[in-house]
Amino acid sequence: MTPWWRDPTLRPAIVACLTLSAAVGVFGVSFGVGSVAAGSTVLQTCALSLLVFTGASQFSAVSVIGAGGSIGSALGGALLLAARNGVYGLAMSRRLDGSLGRKFLAAQLTIDETTAMAVAQPTRRAQQVAFWVTGVALYACWNLGTLIGALAGSAIDPKTFGLDVAFPAGFVAMVWPLFSDQRARLAALIGGAVCLLTVPFTPIGVPILLSVLGVLVGLQRPVSAPNSEVIQ
């Protein structure tokens, strides 16, 4: 059997995985900059990327702490965002082979990008190659980007360059593709509204926790006709 890195049928997938990883590295830079801008040290910022390694949760935790929120509310919001990696794990468990030790390593790499690249491949072999190539390359790029961003962010005043907007602007880019789904748009609308309405009345960080109410949209079964409720 041709080794995976020389198999021409796998080449397009590998190129796509590496391209994605490089792009995520740029996002890592913005995490590093934003994290030190929000008051973390360079070491703490790098520890978050090395140990937590799930972008949205890291951004969320730093953003809540930076605004003055408690550890509990920062942790709660970040863990809610991390919960979906459990669902990705379910999807990947049907596709990954190997020893238990290898699976504990794979677990740390089970995130949005690795799962998306893997499930998009047509064969089981390509799925595993895509998972590991994306996982290893993305881990390297994300952490290198974080370090560069944290060092650069400590050297300048982030507000002068509008870098306090790096987080929300990155979030916009992250969330936008999800809006192709009607339920996701509704969940986002509810989540965003709940957050703004509760900000003046609840401790900092709590509105982010309350915004999870938006997922209740998912309680309803998917309907084929969008206006069927109105018709009934």
């Binding site: 794990g89 990947m92 999800l178 989540g191 709940v194």
Partner: protein, 99 residues
């Protein structure tokens, strides 16, 4: 940022990953559960955008950030790459602050 939070978050995030991949393994969750979990990012990330754009502490505000994010939204809508969305948002915010 505190080390306590970093450690708790690292352990918690890894626990979710291990639960799905190793403990639950090939089993599937009830569809309603998967549907709700799948909507968490849309709800929370949107809330984070609102918080980072329109609030300072517990106050609602409109400032330079609002314009920066408005431009970022337009860029994302036009399918601009991630880095372009971030740079445009930051640049517009910085420019408005200079005015």
């Amino acid at each position: 940022m505190t080390w306590t939070l970093i450690i708790l978050l690292a352990v918690g995030a890894y626990a979710f990953k291990v639960t799905g991949l190793i403990i639950l393994g090939g089993r599937s969750l009830p569809p309603i559960f998967e549907r709700c979990l799948g909507l968490i990012p849309a709800a929370i990330i949107t809330a984070l955008v609102m918080k980072d754009t329109f609030t300072v502490g517990q106050d609602l505000t409109l400032d330079a950030r609002s314009l920066g994010i408005a431009v970022a939204v337009i860029a994302a809508w036009k399918r601009a790459p991630l880095i372009v969305v971030i740079v445009l948002g930051a640049a517009v915010t910085a420019l408005v602050r200079q005015l």
